[in-house]
Amino acid sequence: MLFTYVPPESIALITIDLTDQPINVAATLDLVQSDGAGAVNTFIGTVRNKSTGRPVVRLEYEAYDSMALHQLRKVADQAKEQWPMLERVAVVHRKGTLQIGDVAVVVAVSTPHRAESFAACQYIIDTLKQVVTIWKKEFYEDGDVWVAAHP
């Protein structure tokens, strides 16, 4: 559904998705195209090859799907309340096993002017990290750690 062509007038204002397949960044950007938008702002989170200096070999994301989708929708709704000029929002998060360089998350927003597009995009990714029920396990050559689990 997400990656099939949809005529612009029928594209949802807010699209939220959680997938165990590679994220199609271009298709996600298409979701926020809007004739009223002069700005499209995108955050793409990718898998880094080290964490606090330790080489990372792969990641695993686990999600509480129903709550993650519900909370993501709320974050997008809050962004729309805070920046009513938001034309469209798309947030797609990956789950499962990811390799170095893979895309873990894409946040895309469109607005009439650029300032609000930066602000709304940052708000969404920052809030996502605080509330959305997704957990990340980093795998190293010699072990693994659930990120942020312990003080």
Partner: protein, 80 residues
């Protein structure tokens, strides 16, 4: 009453299973459930945070739980 609690991430590893069934007094508040689980599984005490979700929303400590609720234990999230 009997509660079914969904577990994720490190909480699932500490408890050793994805779903936990616990028996509690009726109208148990969230805080009391957390104490019961921390006593039963001391590894949960070492986490940076531990929340309870009821029906896909974060629950307050004083919220009362019911048998029909969808309950989950939420260790520190790390999306993005």
């Amino acid at each position: 009453m009997n509660l079914k609690i969904a577990l994720f991430g490190i909480a699932k590893e500490i408890v050793g299973q994805p779903v936990l069934e616990v028996t509690t007094p009726a109208d148990q508040p969230v805080q009391a459930l957390l104490e019961q689980l921390r006593t039963q599984y001391p590894g949960l005490r070492g986490l940076s945070s531990l929340a309870v979700a009821v029906n896909n929303e974060y629950a307050e400590d004083t919220q009362l739980l019911h048998e029909r609720d969808e309950i989950a234990l939420i260790p520190p999230v790390a999306g993005g």
